[in-house]
């Protein structure tokens, strides 16, 4: 282990200890988890994941679809190489 790895390990360990102390030292976290349904058929007060996803976050879903499509096209463009050293089609 060289000096760089030792310093990074020291920093990561101390960061973890600080976060662990802040999590465990008297913070009043909620105690009981609740089960959230995937889909709530009550359309007026829907509380499911699918209700929330396609009502409040519909724009985000469309943007994520565009992002995935752009990533796919960009990945193929970058990885396609007909001759060594030449990037792209």
């Amino acid at each position: 282990m060289n000096v760089r790895e030792f310093l990074v390990l020291l920093a990561a360990t101390s960061l973890f200890l600080v976060m662990a102390l802040s999590f465990l030292a008297g913070t009043p976290w909620p105690q009981t988890p609740t089960e959230i349904p995937v889909y709530d058929p009550n359309t007026t007060a829907g509380h499911g994941i699918a209700n929330e996803m396609f009502d409040e976050f519909a724009i985000a879903i469309i943007l994520i679809a565009l992002l995935l499509g752009a990533a796919m096209i960009g990945g193929v463009y970058l990885a396609k190489m007909d001759e060594p050293g030449k990037v792209g089609p």
Binding site: R4, E5, V8, L9, A11, A12, T13, L15, F16, M19, A20, F23, L24, W29, P30, Q31, T32, P33, T34, E35, I36, H47, G48, I49, N51, E52, M53, E56, F57, A60, I61, I64, L67, L68, A70, A71, M72, G74, G75, V76, Y77, L78, A79, M81, P84, G85, V87
Partner: protein
Amino acid sequence: MIPLEYELLLSALLLCIGLYGVLARRNAIIVLMSIEIILNASILNFVAFSAYNNSPSGQVFALLGIAVAAAEAVVGLAIFLSVYQTHGTIELDKIRILKW
């Protein structure tokens, strides 16, 4: 039932492991995997707080975060493939110029 503190501790541990991988390792694939670990730590936080606060928004954000992580992995791996073809290595300390 797992207490929320334990989930937060696991998330912090994942974050620190990812930070160590990003800052200490030189292989680009390992750095990319460490970034994915950091993203998974944030996703675990979203899901934990969503379950304990009775709000489905966190789990929706977790799904969106998984999609972002997939897109990032695709582009990152393609870039590393291209860098390997042009430089012959993916050791980050040896790649000094950002031109093809």
